[in-house]
Subunit: 214 residues, 2 copies
DNA sequence: TGTTTAGATGAAGGAACCTTCAGCTTTGGA
DNA sequence: TCCAAAGCTGAAGGTTCCTTCATCTAAACA
């Protein structure tokens, strides 16, 4: 069963010409647009194809079924966020824990806020059975990378970096979700970011071995 | 449209005899069970009716449509959690902020962990268009109640209680979701609870006017 | 006991929509 | 220019599942 779902996730046909690569891209973009405008419940493959300017048949040449299409959309979105975080994690190795926390918050939040509607709409996808696995995997990978970053902190850690990373990421998730589902996320962005900074800083301070003056 | 959805949410028929009240209860319980066993995607009204030991027709006498059924299930679940939090918020007025944070975490987490599968399965419902409104409303109400609690803290607050409550609840949500979606939530419950305590305590300390020794 | 009302039934209507496939068009190279 | 391969089309098949309603049973009450 797992084998089947993994196999069916693969594109039916791999684009070899340039135009088909553009088609796949258009379909994925259209999927997001439809998701944003009508929601996951009312998204149909025909609607997505129309929006992409192709026929349904074309869609089914690159995605074996509707679920695969949604999963691909979700993966694409999460990959964007993950890339931002990865970048930060490479760049800020061996700095102070508080710096790490601060830049992590900025990277994660601004990646999510880059396209508010899209991020919010994809929550519906990441909650169903197929999406959940992808979301979990992405989250787990994110925690691992952040844990590795924390392990290089100039101050020593009193706790397992994995646990610290898990907590920070969970808080980040909670607050960003709250933000994305707010009436006007743009307006609340700055204040919530500040407050999140306070929250994470307070926590990270308790994870440092020799407490500094600040 | 809002009027329509509100009207259709109302039960089609109000139970007047005792047996029908029991039927409604059985249907709601069955909805949760089906949700847990096959997920929201594959839940059908016929399946729910079968599980409840009634016919589909009976289901449609109390719920105007499938969406209303799911919404009712979600409401029931959230009401359970809200009741726990409300209770705490009445009981711990005028205590210290740290006490409030601690009992809040316990109340919220144990309410969610009371039935792990159910809580996890309902995330799918709370993410779709109909469920989102309910979830948001419940969350907003929770924040308001907690903010009122925080406003009575024996120590003075340096910030708007609403903001403090929002952050604490967002962190709570993030961590409990992470917990509920873990492979074995029971095993991780205690350690994550401890860590959540540290996280929230650290934050609340920064919200107190005159910093105490502890 | 008879009548009225509440409650329950489940086959069938019918809409929605995923997915296929036989045939058409475009592209790239020989 | 011409052909083979890649790409595209969209009507139609088929399935799933929501929802209804004519009909039956159980309960309350006089």
């Amino acid at each position: 069963m797992a084998t089947t779902s993994l196999r069916t996730l693969q594109p039916r046909k791999t684009p070899v010409q340039e135009r088909s690569a553009a088609t796949v891209d258009a379909i994925l973009q259209a999927a997001i647009q439809v998701l944003v405008s009508v929601g996951k419940e009312r998204l149909t493959t025909t609607l997505v194809a129309m929006r992409a300017g192709v026929s349904v048949g074309t869609l089914y040449q690159y995605f074996p079924n509707k679920s695969a299409l949604l999963q691909a959309s979700l993966k694409r979105h999460m990959h964007g966020v993950a890339t931002s975080v990865d970048h930060i994690c490479k760049e800020y190795r061996s700095t102070s824990l508080l710096t790490m926390g601060s830049v992590l918050i900025d990277a994660y939040l601004s990646a999510k806020m880059r396209n508010v509607k899209e991020s919010a709409a994809l929550y519906a996808v990441s909650s169903d059975l197929d999406g959940l696995a992808i979301a979990k995997a992405a989250h787990a990978r994110g925690c691992r990378v952040v844990a590795e970053l924390f392990a290089t902190a100039s101050e020593g850690l009193t706790k397992d970096p994995e646990i610290v990373a898990t907590m920070v990421m969970a808080a980040l998730n909670g607050v960003s979700r709250r933000l994305l589902e707010a009436k006007s996320p743009e307006r609340e962005h700055a204040p919530l970011r500040e407050e999140l900074l306070v929250l994470v800083r307070g926590y990270l301070l308790t994870c440092i071995q020799t407490k500094p003056a600040i």
